[in-house]
């Protein structure tokens, strides 16, 4: 099951990047504290022709994106937009939640264009609207299935265009 926002103009350029990838596979960063769920989402995405990087928590994800603590000392925000076309993150994680991670990504002038999808095993309407309001592209209910990934790709291809 997937819940999504209507297309958002601010994510347009990254959608275009996703579309114009051509020979290049879309690169997805998947964040989840569960080793089982990381393995599952990685396979689901690879089966949908995506290149996948996984991170076990928010801080590691931010480091990978070039938004880590030590990167902040650079006056120029590095962040590597070309690195990643989509970020999919679990909501319930110890320390930095998926929502906290979403906020940090949207605060970054470099990374805010990258669509962020939130996953959760719990269907909590206030949680869902909170994430969508903060700029999440979609909210998906776990456990994820192949059909959810297909719907995700379809939605990303069709919106922000």
């Amino acid at each position: 099951m997937a819940i999504s926002t209507p297309s958002s103009a601010s994510s347009g350029s990254s959608m275009a990047a996703l579309m114009e990838n051509g020979d290049q596979l879309p690169h997805v960063l998947a964040v989840d504290d569960s080793v089982i769920d990381r393995k599952l989402i990685e396979k689901l995405l690879k089966n949908s022709s995506c290149k996948v990087t996984t991170a076990e928590n928010g801080p590691r994800a931010l480091e990978f994106l070039g938004l880590g603590d030590h990167d902040r000392h650079n006056s120029l925000e590095k962040g590597n937009v070309s690195k990643v076309n989509l970020i999919i993150t679990d909501y319930c994680m110890p320390g930095m939640t998926g929502y906290d991670l979403l906020k940090k990504i949207k605060e970054s002038s470099v990374m805010r264009e990258v669509p962020v999808v939130i996953m959760s095993s719990e269907n909590v309407p206030t949680r869902i609207s909170k994430c969508l309001e903060e700029g999440a592209q979609m909210f998906m209910l776990k456990p994820l299935k192949q059909s959810d990934i297909k719907r995700l790709k379809c939605h990303l291809m069709n919106s922000g265009n």
């Binding site: 569960s34 080793v35 089982i36 769920d37 393995k39 599952l40 396979k43 689901l44 089966n47 319930c92 110890p94 095993s121 776990k142 456990p143 299935k145 192949q146």
Partner: protein
């Protein structure tokens, strides 16, 4: 035993696991993800589940053994176990976790201890079943056969 017979045993055993509620559709998702590039995907995920679950069950035993039980901690562990059992399709373990979380909310130690027993029971049952299933798969592969693909149509 010839390979056709073992394959039929595997099909019958798998069907029984679904009919008895040990596994649900999510397990089929895992099987469908397994392919030539990843022929051991299901057993790898299930092994991770076994390791993760046993640690969580130990942590839960410890947490409920404290003179003053921290229900937030207990709930966090059960939430994790509920998530992972749901992700692999271990339906009865997942359902036992749902009941467990309700008693955490009520902060009822006695009920939680009973729930923990129930979760442990269901976990060891499904572990046993899955190990039996993997043994059948090994027999099929050793005999040069291919593991059947299960659809939901049964």
């Amino acid at each position: 035993m010839e390979v056709g017979q073992v394959r039929r045993q595997w099909v019958d055993y798998t069907k029984s696991l679904f009919l008895e509620g040990y596994l649900d559709g999510q397990f089929l998702q895992l099987q469908q993800l397994q392919d030539e590039s990843n022929p051991d995907f299901v057993s790898e995920v299930v092994s991770l589940f076994f390791g993760d679950s046993e640690k969580l069950l130990n942590d839960l035993t410890l947490a409920l053994d404290q003179p003053i039980v921290n229900f937030k901690t207990v709930d966090a562990h059960v939430h994790q176990l509920k998530g992972s059992s749901s992700s692999i399709g271990a339906q009865r373990v997942k359902n036992a976790c749902v009941a467990f979380r309700n008693f955490c909310e009520e902060q009822n130690v006695e009920a939680c201890l009973r729930c923990l027993q129930h979760v442990k029971q269901e976990y060891y049952l499904v572990k046993n079943k899955l190990e039996t299933l993997f043994r059948l798969e090994q027999q099929i592969v050793a005999a040069g056969g291919a593991i059947p693909m299960m659809g939901l149509g049964f």
